[in-house]
Subunit: 387 residues, 2 copies
């Protein structure tokens, strides 16, 4: 028992998948071939235009602190992207460049959440979200969601679960681990309901751009009072660069700036200059090519998993995840994932990393591997199921 | 009044110097020549060996997430640096690579500090320290310090100010804004006293390496229970890369790893590979050359300020700051700094950024400009004083 440990750490969980990941690396060191479908990271290299821009900055040698809120030209470029992509006018001063979406969450909850206040989010959802709330000694209200709402919160559910100390609601669309989008009309209703109830709306839009049937709707199309979290990691393919952004309401600009100055000083300078190259037409064309590859992979993996007997109530329209019901095979998806790794060398993420609700019956497959590799993985899984 | 703003934001202050910095940039756009002595950032470019290592990583295109705790080889290199530099054996698994020292502070307070608990630190000190405590809804206990203790806490002061809800004590040596070191014997006594009192000791060692008479002592030479914050920004000259580290006690390793996974995912990958090149003999020789230049600058600026009538009770032995008493000229150092900027184009940082105690009588000068530029600045200040 560590007497000096902060209480919040009791509420913060490690990722279960890390245990599997370490074991997978161990097996690889022993010479085993592992198919990685556990990681939320595109397998593509950083786009060339972005690498070139990073390289140009390094050539100057001047990798100095930037303004805490980010390079002015990058804030403008992001604001401009909202105009081009969504037809939305956004003032650059509402855009804060952050060290990844992680930094955006730190700022968004840091400027709004008091100890003891609650943030509502769906179960399942991305585990860090809950842990950011714990970091500030807040409480997470998990609301169980099913395929009938595309694993998303509804306005009715928000209202039904609202408590006096609920501070706000977090929606991710496309979502992790389910890859599902919230219906546009429901999204608007949820945002309006939250604001009528007097809460904050946090929109996790880090998988925007990675959608396969229709574009995702941004909360900024509905309300200028929403907090919007986005990132260069997923669609833009810049994971290790650690650069994302947060859009805040007008009356949070000065607080957000103060907090960013204090807790980050600034976002990595070379990453910011590199990110500037993301918005060129040539780079966007490359990203569109990658998006189409992800769509082919999704279709391939979806069909393959269904064929093997996994259940998927809907075909997810975004991100690069399938959250498959494995109850035909097991009531303990963690043990299933562990055995699958040991026996066949396929690494996947167990449901319990994403919540409690029916977690033991679900596994997340990331289609961040090529179709060839996934075909191999499906053959191995089939063998595993017939063992 | 913003009803949704978190309470903590009332306790978090912006840097006053930011107002001056913005004004300085405005004046530069209008064609004025400004001597910058306000910024805590070396004026040297990133060392070539580090740029080259960053460049090599970019050439691979593989800028992917690393382990949350950092690249294993960088953790080993940092541990090895403790052996070479301080003669201390340190297990790499106690070393966490972080997004700058900012990230190290987030982790150190995140894993230890509960809302309402107090962290003791000197006044004056670096403003972010207090604001990190506010972030976690803790309370800062500022203890006024003077030149007679080299602006550092003493063991007696720690004991005298200790309260039931004091969680720990933060010491920075060399310190910002004063540039002073704590005496080695006093340092050891402070650490032991804090641990006898049952608290956490946090050692801010980000200016280690930048010392001009004797090396600074690391808390790890005294106790394996201390939290040690360090950075590649200052001595290693990598500010904009945002990479630092935290050394934690054995029984905080797993909590720190969980928190790092959740709030950062990882530290910028290219920055970590670049930082690996910091420890080569050739690079350390270049850093030694820079250290000697800083020493020459310190001596030059110290003599110049004394000659003009500023008071410096002791000659600071580290960092790149002089914290000068300007009471011969003004009782409002912020107004003084503003007028000095407007009239003569010399940018400095007013004492109020570093606390309340005699802040109106102090100004911080950073010797992050060349001797030629500082000679120019001194001539301008002399003219300003004779106006």
């Amino acid at each position: 028992m560590n007497r000096l440990l902060a209480d919040r750490m009791r509420g913060i969980s490690a990722f279960y998948v890390m245990e599997l990941l370490q074991r997978a690396k161990q097996l690889e060191r022993e010479g085993r071939d592992i198919v990685h479908m556990e990681i939320g990271e595109p397998d593509f290299p950083t786009p060339q235009a972005v690498l070139d821009a990073g390289d140009r900055l390094l050539k100057t040698g001047e990798v100095k602190y930037t303004a805490a809120a980010g390079l002015p030209e990058l804030r403008r470029a992001i604001a401009d992207f909202y105009r081009k992509r969504y037809g939305i006018a956004l003032e650059p001063r509402r855009v804060f460049v952050t060290p990844g979406a992680s930094g955006a969450f730190l700022l968004a909850f840091g400027v709004t959440l008091n100890p003891g206040e609650r943030i509502m989010m769906p179960d399942p959802c991305y585990p860090c979200n809950d842990n950011f709330v714990q970091l500030f000694n807040g409480k997470t209200q998990l609301v169980e969601v099913d395929a009938d709402s595309a694993y998303q919160l509804t306005a009715d559910a928000v209202e039904r679960h609202w408590l006096p100390d609920t501070k706000g609601v977090l929606v991710a669309s496309p979502a992790n681990p389910t890859g599902t989008l919230i219906a546009a009309a429901e999204f608007d209703t949820v945002i309006n309901r939250v604001q009528t109830l007097g809460g904050c709306f946090y929109s996790d839009e880090i998988y925007h751009g990675l959608t396969y049937e229709k574009p995702a709707r941004t909360a900024l199309a509905v309300s200028q009072k929403a907090f919007v979290i986005n990132s260069f990691s997923k669609f833009f393919g810049m994971t290790g660069w650690r650069v994302g952004w947060l859009v805040v309401p007008e009356d949070f600009i000065s607080a957000t700036e103060k907090l960013a100055q204090n807790i980050f000083i600034s976002t990595p300078t070379h990453s910011q200059y590199a990110a500037l190259a993301s918005f060129s037409d040539a780079n966007l064309a490359e990203l569109e090519r990658r998006r189409q590859l992800f769509q082919q992979r999704r279709d391939f993996l979806y069909d393959g998993l269904i064929r093997l007997g996994f259940k998927l109530a809907c075909k997810p329209e975004g991100a690069f995840y399938l959250y498959a019901d494995c109850s035909a095979f097991t009531d303990d998806s963690f043990a299933f994932a562990r055995e699958l790794l040991e026996t066949e060398g396929v690494a996947v993420t167990p449901g319990k990393d994403f919540g409690a609700y029916r977690a033991q019956n679900h596994i997340r497959f990331a289609y961040t591997a090529s179709i060839d590799r996934m075909a191999d993985a499906l053959a191995r899984i089939e063998r595993f199921l017939c063992r």
